[in-house]
Symmetry: C2
Subunit: 170 residues, 2 copies
């Protein structure tokens, strides 16, 4: 129950997030100015300090439904799934687009309203970051190694979103 | 003594690096195709996974001497200082440019040759990453928040270097 969660230091959530990132992935929620929130699975992400503040960087391809939502509101949440019991749902949210589906509902995820952002947090997850985008950067082919370019066969270069965690829950 | 160090998992070094990043900063070495290696202090950096591999992201302003060196060789090392006893040297390496000084020598840093990169590692540090740049991204004003733009009053927008750790030592 998210009601039992408490605000905590960033290090605790970063530690949990890193472990699950490599393992099954994390759940990112976003919402546009109108319409329902969406969830996607991320297997890539960077954490640390930038511009004198804590930062969580996510990479989102412009073709993804989430991209348009983050562009609209400049916000997202990162949710760390518990070990094992959400693995199927996490895999599903990485496979299917939210453009025509309600993945939060289909996955049976209960959500709670974010306190500092419009995007919800996913109740059954064990840790959460409510992030406001403070900067972004667009990848371009010329600045990537040949090996990395293989991730972009269709030319769908990620936008890097640098989120500042406004609220940190565990 | 670096001779006593062993190769280890990335998580151990990321943990140490994050703690010291917030505290006093980390030491980044680089070297051009000709000339001596340089060291600079970084207080910002992000760690995690990107493009299916581990990544350490550093932000370097084009005006910095280090920027030209990384552009030449596409490599750097990250060195985690021990607690306290190098703090003055770390502060010095963040204050002074290496363009006309040999900061490694002035700081009394013994170095060891990198095994996978040309840049050296600093012996008295407690952990090291030898990184090859696999991608970079240039920040532009239009994609930054008003608050973040204050870091760029002189227009010297960071280049983000994404390094893949080829060798991880503790």
């Amino acid at each position: 129950m998210v009601g039992l969660k408490v605000e905590c230091g960033i290090e605790e959530v970063f530690g949990l997030a890193k472990a699950r990132l490599q393992d099954c992935g994390l759940l990112l929620t976003s919402v546009g100015l109108h319409g329902k929130p969406n969830v996607m699975t991320i297997g890539w992400g960077l954490m640390g300090r930038l511009w004198g503040q804590m930062a969580f960087m996510v990479a989102v391809r412009p073709s993804r439904f989430t991209h348009g939502l983050i562009e609209e509101t400049g916000e997202f949440t990162v949710n760390v799934p518990p070990e094992r019991d959400l693995d199927d749902a996490v895999a599903y949210c990485g496979r299917v687009s939210g453009r025509n589906r309600d993945k939060l509902e289909e996955s049976g995820f209960e959500v709670e309203k974010g306190k500092t952002v419009r995007s919800p947090i996913i109740s059954r997850c064990v840790a959460h970051l409510e992030c406001r985008v403070v900067g972004k950067s667009r990848l371009v082919s010329e600045l990537l190694s040949e090996d990395v370019k293989k991730s972009y066969a269709s030319g769908d270069f990620h936008t890097l979103y640098f989120g500042n965690p406004l609220r940190i829950l565990i």
